[in-house]
């Protein structure tokens, strides 16, 4: 008699609906989260179609139109080089979102791999990995990112890597905790008993069950990454000028013109804030829906 067994039946049911119905349900339950999602989609579209949306080249200087107040010709005014603020803010969305997304991917993938290994195997590996994570976390975030960034040399890719590396330990800590908890579940024992390899158990049985935790963490990490990029660029070590990063538009020499041209200080700040607020609102809403235990992370 053949006995067919599937360890999967022991796993908790996961909702598989991500279609229109799920979206409507989400919007009903979390209107703020849904609004944030709409704003983020708008920002992503702006970033993707920056060339079509921006009325001017974000880098072209025009000394006949220096420090112009917002008006018909330049909706958001111009900066001290006569560059169009609107065009720079629009192109800035590209930098901000791309650094945020790639840094988030580095931080999340790195954090999940370390957390999974540490939590699943435990023992000596866990002890060693956790000491490294301890040392890693002890670095003050911005200073650490700054040192890595300077040692790699300034640039877009370098900023992504530096901010990504800084995000790894926090994610790994939370994932480790969740994995340690799931490891004790019946379905993991069953999968092992049926001869599933460690790798298979980790990837096929545990990973999908910590996915909701990972999604929530990733959203919050993204907001922090965008904030970190803004701070580094503001300090003049992030994205090198003349690239229109929102942070660098608020730092360096531009500061001397803020009193004469306050719009230079307003727009980039509003866009950074709007972006980070939206990611955090979305993260909060996802957390409430997917994984309420993560409150306070």
């Amino acid at each position: 008699m053949a006995i067919s067994l599937d360890a999967g039946v022991l796993e908790p049911q996961r909702s598989r609906g991500w279609g229109a119905a799920a979206a409507v349900a989400f919007a009903r339950r979390k209107p703020l989260g849904a609004a944030a999602l709409v704003i983020l989609l708008g920002l992503i579209l702006i970033a993707l179609f920056a060339r079509a949306i921006a009325p001017y080249d974000p880098l072209s200087q025009n000394y006949d139109a220096v420090l112009q107040a917002p008006g018909a010709g330049h909706l958001m005014g111009t900066d001290n080089f006569g560059r169009d603020e609107l065009s720079r803010v629009v192109y800035g969305a590209r930098i901000s979102l791309s650094v945020g997304v790639v840094a988030m991917l580095i931080g999340t993938v790195g954090g999940v791999v370390l957390g999974l290994l540490s939590g699943y195997f435990g023992g000596l590996l866990d002890l060693v990995l956790q000491r490294i994570i301890d040392a890693w976390i002890a670095f003050p975030v911005i200073i650490f990112a700054l040192v890595i960034l300077v040692s790699l040399g300034q640039g877009l890719l370098q900023a992504m890597i530096a901010i990504g590396i800084v995000g790894i330990p926090a994610t790994s800590r939370v994932v480790r905790g969740t994995v340690m908890e799931k490891k004790e579940s019946l379905y993991v024992g069953a999968a092992r008993a049926m001869g599933g390899s460690h790798l298979r158990v980790m990837l096929v049985h545990i990973l999908p069950n910590v996915m909701s935790t990972i999604i929530v963490l990733a959203t919050l990490t993204l907001g922090r990454a965008i904030l970190a990029e803004a701070i580094l660029s503001f300090l003049g070590v992030g994205i090198p000028p003349p690239q229109p990063a929102w942070g660098s538009m608020l730092g360096g020499n531009a500061r001397t013109y803020f009193l004469a041209a306050p719009w230079m200080a307003i727009w980039p700040g509003i866009f950074i804030s709007l972006t980070v607020i939206s990611w955090n609102l979305l993260g909060d809403a996802l957390r409430d829906v997917l994984d309420p235990r993560l409150r306070g992370v």
Binding site: A135, W136, P140, F234, L235, F258
Partner: protein, 325 residues
Amino acid sequence: MSHYVVRRALLTLVTLFLFSLILFLLVRRLPGDAALLKSAAGETSGPVDPSVTVALRKQFHLDRPVLVQYFEWVVSISHGDFGRSFWTGDRAAQDLLTALPVTLELVVLSVSFSVFIGLLVGVVSAVQHDRPVDHALRLFALFGLSIPNFWVGTILILVPALFWHYLPPLGYTSILQDPATNLRQFLAPAAALGWALSASIMRLTRSEMLEVLNQDYVRTAWAKGLRARSVLLNHCLRNAFIPVITIIGVQVGFLLGGTVAVESVYGLPGIGTLLINGINQRDYPIIQTGVLALALWFILINFLVDLAYALIDPRIRLSAEGAAG
């Protein structure tokens, strides 16, 4: 318990060793070194004299293998010598002690600000649970978390300047020298930092208060006819406050390295400014001493928090001892 303390202390030492090694190697990976920058800065024009660079490298021991340099560094630290700045020749520890009061004052003020705002908003939010006020206050906290503190700082300078022609005195005056000016210099940056910090305190206070508000002894207090203030402050907040203390500890640790951008906006010569300058000038002793001090502080706080938890909750130390044995 003593077994647990020893184990934790040993692990902390391992962490510290790993940290110092990573830090040292990372700092030496910075492109270009102080000798090169300094010999270039010495010349008014023309190419750098390579022999000057070589001599400087020798003077700073930069010509030795990195691991030898690390070993020398650790040995000199154990003698209480943290090295001298490559640029000014000052003792790195002295530079750090000069910058410390600035950052410390900023930290104390912004944490006080965040505790005040966080507790107030948290309690009101919990009492008004799920009403419009609660939603508005939670949004206020989330904004604080999301809006970059250096931008808040910029706006706090810009708005009074544009509307009331008031510019705060930027820079730093010691509180001993001129308390009034000192306060005017620190108020805005402390508020900018404090808003961001208040968010986590507010969230925690709110959830703790929500839990406490449903307890029997609170219902009894209401039933006895006590005034709202007495019930909320003496019965609720006192019990909700314990986890909040932990968060405050964490924040103080985090803030010491997190004030960089705000210090830069307000021209405050604190630890953040010291480190930025050190990194730009490749002043290894300054970077190493500064970052090590921040990490020591952070690790120490974590150690104390862990011990406090273990004291309060026997399960933690028992499970740790089980794992060790």
